[in-house]
């Protein structure tokens, strides 16, 4: 069905089943939640960013069950027992780590979207570079000094900090629960975020000097500290007020100190939102994901370092969502996890995994269109230490979807923030702008057989598109680096064949990827 016909049908109130990775979704028109939400504006909406520091092993979190035989060849010493993997509603191909019962319940209650294999072209394997890339939403080879959230906030709250707080915005623009403020909040002039460890206690700062500073580097630094002192004083009162007015209702937060840190942070966030703080963005974090060694316990691979972390994450997510629901504010809040990269497909000899590329992320909340976006990564039958999960979605597609569909910015403004156009993903169910993305999503593509495979010099691939549109066929190396784009052109509905010229490629595994605006399919190609 063409997009236009789909929109018409939807407008006429016809109920249409839409297949999203085999899940039946109701058409937009039938969703009572949406009509309620449709009347709201983006005002009052909150994004909570959950940062998983160190590089989260995505294959051990969102498990591609249909890849088990190849996974067991590539990472037998860390692999979960297949029977232990938690099943997700309506999906027998994809499951969760056994310690993520809370996340499983969120998914099964239609509160979660899992986006598969999120990354960026030309992955960087340095923690610090890759983290900067995610924070600033830059290209891999580009250094930006402003953060994606900082640029977003700058479009909404111009002339910050000079004209703030004011009658329209009394509250901090972004809060980080912790002592440091993230690069993601760095605006064109100043960091637009504020660090808070205890919202009930702020020490009054006396220095309110606003006099001129000398035009020297020392003057610049002095002005910065004074500005921070001034902001802290101005915002301390509203934060303290919200903390005392707000409350927590969920009994699912863990008690005791063990593993409660992320949950504690989210608990503060829930309390502040409930207390009336209008701050639109929060960031919380959980560290320790750099699992080069002892990622799992050899005697029981669901136990160990990574399982502990995923358990903390899952418990915190469930408790937070439960709290928001009990407090009656869950329609205003969505949360997103991310990590600077995933880890290698192949495990190492230390029952750990090394720095990798793309990985799944989770978005949860009432407003999320539940389901799994994208396919399970395909694991080659023979892997080398270099093999990575190739990206299906650029992380800036996720950012773009949040900015456009949750914060309701126009596509042009989003392009300004992200520097270029990225197709949004059907993460949210909040308004009619999604009809287009659903329609696009319905358009199936498939990458069929490659023959011969393994191949030398040349081979031929079959592919198909149900609805037509622009298709791109590209080749990646196992590290996820783009080697070649064979074509990127408009197709009408139908089946196609394409001959690939493989001369000049070293023997080894390669990833062939077919992409439309929203879908991607990959096959492993072996060159001999």
């Amino acid at each position: 069905m063409k997009r236009r016909t789909f929109i018409k049908a939807a407008a006429a109130g016809v109920s249409l089943p839409i297949s999203l990775n085999g899940m039946q979704l109701r058409s937009v028109q039938n969703n009572a939640f949406l009509s309620a939400l449709g009347k709201r504006s983006a005002k009052g909406r909150v994004l909570v960013i959950i940062q998983l520091n160190g590089g989260n092993d995505g294959l051990n979190m969102v498990v591609p069950i249909d890849q088990y035989s190849n996974l067991s060849k590539a990472r037998s010493n860390v692999l979960l027992s297949e029977s232990a993997v938690l099943k997700l509603k309506n999906s027998n191909k994809t499951g969760l780590h056994p310690k993520m019962g809370g996340a499983q319940r969120l998914f099964d209650k239609d509160k979660m979207s899992i986006v598969q294999s999120v990354g960026y072209p030309q992955p960087d394997f340095s923690h610090f570079r890759s983290m900067d890339i995610w924070m600033t939403a830059s290209n891999s080879d580009q250094v930006l000094t402003t953060g994606w959230m900082g640029r977003y906030l700058d479009t909404q709250y111009q002339n910050f900090p000079q004209e703030y707080p004011n009658a329209n915005m009394k509250d901090p623009l972004a809060l980080q629960i912790g002592p440091l403020v993230s690069l993601a909040f760095m605006g064109p002039k100043v960091n637009m975020g504020m660090a808070v460890t205890n919202p009930s206690s702020f020490y009054d700062l006396l220095d309110n000097a606003v006099g001129s500073v000398p035009a020297t580097p020392a003057g610049d630094e002095l002005a910065y500290i004074r500005l921070l002192a001034q902001q802290t004083n101005e915002y301390a009162d509203v934060i303290k007020a919200a903390a005392s007015k707000g409350t927590n209702k969920s009994t699912k937060y863990p008690t005791g100190t063990r593993g409660g840190n992320l949950a504690e942070q989210l608990k503060i966030v829930a309390r502040l939102i409930h207390g009336g703080l209008q701050t639109p963005v929060y960031m919380v974090s959980l560290g320790g994901f750099d699992t080069h060694s002892a990622q799992v316990e050899t005697s029981d691979t669901k136990e160990g370092w990574h399982g502990d972390l995923l358990s903390q994450l899952s418990i915190a997510m469930e408790a937070f969502q439960d709290d928001l629901e009990l407090l009656g504010i869950s329609d205003r809040v969505v949360s997103m996890t991310f990590s600077e990269f995933g880890r290698r497909i192949q495990s190492n000899g230390s029952t750990g995994t090394d720095h990798g590329a793309a990985a799944p992320l989770m978005v949860f909340g009432d407003a999320v269109q539940p389901g799994i976006i994208g396919n399970n990564p395909s694991i080659p039958s023979t892997t080398t230490v270099n093999d990575n999960v190739p990206m299906q979605f650029d992380f800036r597609q996720v950012y773009g979807s949040i900015l456009q569909d949750w914060f309701e910015l126009s596509a042009n403004v989003v392009k300004g923030i992200l520097g270029q156009d990225f197709n949004t993903l059907p993460i949210f169910k909040n308004n009619l702008s999604h009809i287009e993305t659903f329609a696009d999503y319905m358009t199936q593509i498939s990458l069929g057989s490659i023959y011969p495979n393994p191949a030398r010099d040349k081979t031929e691939v079959e592919y198909r598109t149900d609805g037509g549109g622009i298709l791109q066929l590209s080749l990646y190396d196992p590290l996820g680096r783009l080697l070649q784009v064979f074509f990127s052109k408009s197709h009408s509905q139908g089946e196609y064949r394409y001959e690939l010229d493989l001369r000049g490629l070293k023997p080894g595994n390669y990833i062939l990827q077919l992409r439309s605006s929203l879908k991607s399919e990959t096959q492993v190609l072996q060159v001999i």
Partner: protein, 555 residues
């Protein structure tokens, strides 16, 4: 770039790279500073090279010219530091170590390690607080940040001490030898998985950080490849730790070493390191690897940039790169990577003393807490009570940790963000969380004090610093000297008037302060007691107010 400019990009463009633009600049370089050496110069040098010079430090450097001062700062010949001790015995008895004796050569004891960790961290703070009149302790922090190892990730506390001992032994020595020693240090082998790096299962963790963080950095001239990371990992296979020795030691296991040839990318001139066998294979190949890496000029530049950010200013413009970093890096290479000649050239340069580069470093948390203690001569408890002494050190180590610098536990192998993260760099020390805490500590110790036990309450005695000034009974002079000593910037007339209002409320004539001060210091005056209370309180307010100024956060 402002918002308007940002949005005016053509849609097909990506935003351009926003480097750190320095709009105004200076063009001084590494030529020797030749202006008349004055007290401001001395203060600037000591503020940057030390954790917070005391009045006694200023006095000790008084008769020296610039070169003599720098030589004194670089003279580490008399430094000897005792290792951390058993301060915990009364609560957690240690069968292997007597109370007050060091635990660094005792067997690992997992029931006691946490107590040793606390001892270690308190001790790390004490090194800075008990600073000698040299740049040595400041360099310890520099290298602790550079070759970062997290104590939380190393279960053997004594191994951590010996890692720090390598830092202590080489912090003013030869950087290349330092790198070699740190590569095979047991704590580092544990922390970055060198111990798990074998020919059958290479682990590239250390090989990556060796290039990315320790030697070459990630600048545009640093073009090593992923293949180079893997090849370097193979060179480093076979090293391991022996946990059965006391302390834990490093060993080389030839059977786990990859003895095939390792070929590097064209960045390294396609260099091949011949695979070796036998017990010296690891050391031999490591030496060749470091020779290859240290051939790259970028190593010297990377380290000099880091030193520049640490001692001068965090923004590096073209002039700083060409006129300071490049010649400094050349000195580094010409001296076979000896550190002292680099420091000497930097500290004697006109660029270092350029008024442009003064007062523009935001104090890191350690410099903040230590300079406060040293400036106000806060008296530690008696040395012969190890438990109490380490409680005192631990108080500050804990406070410094609360302010984002947990000594012994840097946040990651990259060290603290303030020394690498664009664009904030050292500005990230100051947040809405940390700035109030810094003020709170100062005020707490000025007004209330911290009671450790019946024998010892730690509190600022405002008279110590005050009596170090030349004419404290002259209000103008007192304010002037106190500000000059405590703040690196000159205050505006309104700020000074506000301070004077504390000593002479309501603008009463200056002689009132003189009379009251004289009565306070002379017990024979009839109003001595009331004057003493009143002046003490005014001095507390005066110093509180000075330290609450944003200028106090600068160095």
């Amino acid at each position: 770039m402002n918002r308007r400019e940002f949005f005016s990009f053509k849609s097909s463009q990506t935003p351009p790279s926003e480097g750190l633009k320095v709009t105004r600049r200076t063009n001084t370089g590494l030529d020797a500073y030749t202006a008349t050496w004055n007290v401001d110069d001395r203060l600037h040098l000591l503020r940057r090279a030390m954790f917070g010079p005391s009045q006694a430090d200023l006095e000790a450097f008084k008769g020296l010219n610039l070169e003599q001062s720098v030589d004194k700062l670089l003279d580490t010949s008399k430094i000897s530091i005792d290792p951390p001790i058993n301060n915990y015995d009364k609560v957690y008895p240690d069968a292997d170590v007597a109370y007050g004796q060091t635990w660094v050569n005792a067997p690992v004891n997992f029931n006691i390690e946490f107590a040793r960790v606390n001892s270690m961290k308190a001790w790390l703070w004490s090194l800075a607080a008990n600073q000698t009149a040299t740049v040595y302790e400041k360099m310890l922090l520099f290298w602790h940040n550079h070759f970062a190892v997290e104590l939380a990730a190393v279960p053997f506390t004594s191994a951590y001490y010996y890692y720090y001992k390598v830092v202590m032994d080489y912090s003013m020595g030869n950087f290349k030898t330092f790198t070699q020693q740190i590569t095979v240090d047991p704590a580092m082998l544990y922390y970055l998985n060198g111990r798990l790096n074998t020919k059958n299962a290479p682990d590239e963790n250390y090989a990556r950080e060796l290039q990315e963080l320790f030697t070459l950095g990630k600048g545009p001239e640093s073009q090593y490849s992923e293949e180079d990371v893997k090849a370097a990992a193979r060179v480093l296979t076979g090293f391991n730790i022996n946990v059965l020795t006391t302390p834990v030691s490093s060993i080389f296991q030839a059977a786990r070493h990859d003895s095939t040839d390792k070929t590097f990318s064209d960045f390294y001139g396609n260099k091949t390191i011949k695979g070796k066998t036998g017990i010296t294979a690891g050391t031999d190949e490591l030496k060749e690897l470091l020779d290859m890496i240290f051939q790259k000029e970028e190593v010297s530049k990377f380290i000099c940039r880091r030193l520049y950010r640490y001692f001068v200013y965090y923004k590096i413009d073209d002039n700083a790169e060409n006129q300071v970093i490049a010649p400094l890096a050349k000195i580094f290479r010409d001296n076979n990577y000896e550190i002292k000649p680099v420091l000497k050239a930097l500290f004697m340069s006109e660029h270092f003393f350029d008024t442009w580069n003064r007062s523009c470093i935001i104090k890191d948390p350690l410099t903040h807490s230590v300079s406060f203690v040293r400036q106000f001569q806060i008296a530690p408890p008696t040395q012969n009570n190890p438990e109490l002494l380490y409680k005192y050190y631990g108080f500050y180590a804990g406070f410094t940790a609360l302010n984002q610098m947990d000594l012994g536990d840097p946040p990651s192998v990259a060290g603290w963000e303030a020394w690498y993260q664009l664009p904030l760099y050292n500005r990230s020390w100051i947040t809405s969380d940390s700035l109030p805490k810094r003020n709170e500590l100062q005020d707490y110790l000025l007004w209330i004090g911290h009671k450790f036990d019946a024998s010892y309450t730690m509190k600022v005695d405002v008279w110590k610093i005050t009596q170090g000034f030349s004419e404290p009974n002259n209000a103008d002079k007192l304010i002037d000297e106190a500000c000059h000593f405590l703040l690196p910037m000159v205050l505006g007339s309104q700020q000074i008037a506000d301070l004077k209002e504390i000593l002479l409320p309501g603008g009463i004539p200056d002689y009132n302060w003189t009379e009251e001060y004289d009565a306070a210091v002379n017990p024979t005056y009839p109003n001595h007691k009331t004057a003493l209370d009143s002046v003490t309180q005014k001095l507390q307010y005066l110093y509180k107010r000075i330290m609450n100024l944003s200028e106090y956060q600068l160095s």
